[in-house]
């Protein structure tokens, strides 16, 4: 299987800069998720690897080979499109066989390979149906099988699940991950759903304005985002903007921490709702409950606290069993452990 390297890829559409000197290295067999908001260049990046887009500058390497000038059809890739894009006049079986025919594999090998793939994506019973006779999830599985048919070195998926409903989405993403691990195929997966990214990635690349902002394992990204953008993008986080005095940030007894080496007058503090601690024994800072939303295992409380002449609004998640007695209008005592907070300069 092949590694993928992107070296200083730049792509402009007129005056729009879709990719800006982007570098990315993916070792063989890894699944990297490209995560980012709309228009940040995810699709352009994927299409550059596929050769459907020619970068203005930079190189694309697959398995160490420079493929920048190679036509799409000669690249060792398979691609799954958001809209499934099955050939409507061919059955599932014929769709899956198409890449094998295009690459002129002998007929007997073709037939057995197609059976193998039908098995892999569990579409045996639907093999002779046309795409318009399949559900969305089945169509996307057929499309995945087609992309894998010619045993490519790299699998590219552009928001493959975004047209499906929540349950199918979750099943299919687990299936994609299972298949990817079985085949050990290098994979680039585009999404703007962070839960999806966290669930299936070996590493997540957070993209912003044509660049990769951070690339890290889901856990690292969740626990220690390295930039303000990643922090605000990944994990439902609270953000409070607070003044910086003598190298410390204070917000009453809610938070008091030293932040050495931050050259800014104001700072943004990110913390996750499950890291807000409710104290029984009176330590902590008073906060008023503004509303309470039951979410199953957890209950979300929207809180407001006042300190240092500032008003801070944030929300906290706590196990629903502990939230029984709490009602809007009550006052609770809360605090946040400094190790749980991520601080970035407010003007950066």
């Amino acid at each position: 299987m092949g590694s993928v390297s992107l070296r200083h890829i730049t792509k402009h559409y007129g005056s729009v800069c879709a990719l800006d000197q982007l570098c990315l290295d993916i070792p063989a067999g890894e699944l990297v998720v490209l995560l980012g908001s709309s228009g940040c260049g995810k699709t352009t990046l994927l299409r550059s690897v596929a050769g459907l887009e020619r970068p203005d500058q930079g190189q694309v390497l697959i398995d160490g080979q420079d493929v920048t000038a190679l036509a799409t059809r000669h690249r060792p890739i398979g691609m799954v499109f958001q809209s499934y894009a099955l050939f409507p006049h061919m059955t599932v079986r014929q769709n899956i066989a198409f890449p094998l025919r295009a690459r002129q594999r002998p007929a007997h090998r073709r037939a057995s390979r197609v059976e193998e793939l039908l098995e892999l994506v569990h579409l045996g019973p639907q093999a002779d149906r046309f795409p318009n006779q399949l559900s969305g999830g089945q169509q996307q599985r057929a499309s995945l099988a087609r992309a894998l048919a010619a045993s490519p070195q790299v699998l590219l998926l552009d928001e493959p699940l975004s047209a499906l409903d929540a349950l199918v989405r979750q099943q299919l993403r687990e299936e994609i991950r299972r298949i990817q691990k079985t085949l050990q195929i290098t994979t680039l997966f585009v999404t703007h759903d962070q839960a999806e990214a966290m669930a299936i990635a070996d590493r997540v690349a957070v993209m912003r304005q044509g660049r990769i902002e951070q690339i890290a394992t889901p856990l690292e990204l969740y626990e220690t985002p390295s930039t303000r953008f990643s922090a605000s993008f990944v994990g439902n986080r609270n953000a409070l903007e607070l003044p910086l005095q003598d190298g410390r940030i204070r917000f009453g007894q809610v938070l008091d921490m030293a932040v050495p080496g931050l050259a800014s007058r104001r700072a943004i503090v990110f913390f996750r709702p499950e890291d807000v601690e409710f104290s029984q024994n009176g330590v902590g800072h008073p906060a008023k409950i503004e509303s309470k939303i039951f979410q199953g295992a957890h209950t979300r409380l929207h809180l407001v606290a006042e300190a240092e002449g500032l008003m801070g609004r944030f929300y906290a998640d706590l196990p629903s069993r502990q939230a029984h007695s709490l009602e809007p209008g009550n006052t609770v005592k809360v605090s946040i452990h400094p190790s749980r907070a991520r601080v970035f300069p407010a003007d950066g």
Binding site: A50, G51, L52, A71, T72, R73, H74, I77, G78, M79, F81, S83, A85, F87, P88, H89, M90, T91, R93, Q94, I96, A97, F98, P99, R101, A102, R103, R110, A111, V114, F130, R146, A147, A149, A150
Partner: protein, 281 residues
């Protein structure tokens, strides 16, 4: 014509529809009766009926030759349009969307200019640059190809839009297909209805066309429409035979139109002629 259902009571609608049907069918019925009548003088219906006009017409070598010529020309024009225009529209969709406005403009010209003007334009242009082609069937076929272009263009362009050929082509490329394989095995099967529809319209236009034939080749290549005129005004005028020819032309054109409507039922969806018949795993 768009009629608002809510404002028109159903009786009024029924009457209007009946009126329209009568208005359209009466002339055709009259021609049909005439083609079967012995004499038709002062009565509402013909004086007597006979099939002899049909038998005579079919036995007339001049008419048979005229039919074959017209048919041959229409087929040639259709083939010409398929070979020239399908690649051009495909090129527009896949490689260069910027030529679209030019194609659209070109497709409007035959509607804006009267055929007589187009015919004289072609005459003077060919006279200037290629006098040798004047009066040839080739030039006539080309000219028919041009005036029939809009019908073909819109039919095929719609089919390509509905099938999303740009996406299909990209998918085929990622599957390792060559441009030729992509065109033949992926694109064409998905736009075949559009091509068939366009072809029928082109065929009908050429089959029926009069002004260009008259001006560009005249009696050198007599077609059905020229022969019809001769039967109407010539010294050997024969109205019954004319009725036979008119009926025949009507049936040909009507069948083609009906077929193209039938093929395009269920608008907005991609339709194909041969579902999946060409590829086997």
């Amino acid at each position: 014509m768009v009629l608002d259902r809510r404002r028109l009571p159903s009786l009024g609608r029924g009457l209007l529809l009946a009126g329209l049907v009568i208005y359209l069918l009466l002339p055709i019925a009259a021609v049909l009766l005439y083609a079967f009548s012995t004499r038709w003088t002062s009565h509402l219906l013909p004086d007597g009926y006979t099939a002899s006009h049909w038998l005579q017409a079919l036995a007339d070598p001049r008419l048979v030759a005229v039919m074959l010529r017209t048919l041959g020309l229409a087929l040639l024009v259709t083939l010409l349009d398929i070979l020239l225009i399908v690649p051009a529209i495909y090129w527009q969709w896949i490689y260069n969307p910027r030529i679209r406005p030019h194609l659209e403009l070109t497709a409007a010209i035959p509607f804006v200019l009267p055929y007589v003007v187009i015919a004289f334009g072609i005459l003077s242009l060919s006279g200037q640059f290629l006098p040798a082609v004047q009066g040839t069937v080739g030039l006539l076929a080309l000219s028919h190809g041009v005036v029939a272009f809009p019908f073909f263009y819109w039919a095929v362009d719609n089919a390509m839009a509905a099938a999303d050929v740009a996406l299909l082509n990209e998918v085929a490329k990622t599957c390792g297909a060559s441009p030729w394989r992509s065109l033949v095995q992926v694109i064409l099967p998905n736009i075949s209805v559009g091509i068939a529809t366009g072809s029928m319209l082109v065929f009908a236009v050429s089959f029926n066309e009069f002004a260009l034939v008259q001006i560009l080749v005249g009696a050198r290549y007599e077609t059905v429409s020229l022969y019809s005129l001769d039967l109407l005004t010539g010294t050997n005028a024969d109205f019954n035979k004319l009725a036979v020819i008119t009926m025949f032309t009507f049936v040909v054109v009507f069948t083609l139109s009906a077929l193209s409507v039938y093929l395009n039922r269920g608008q907005g969806q991609t339709r194909r002629l041969m579902i999946g018949s060409r590829s086997k795993a």
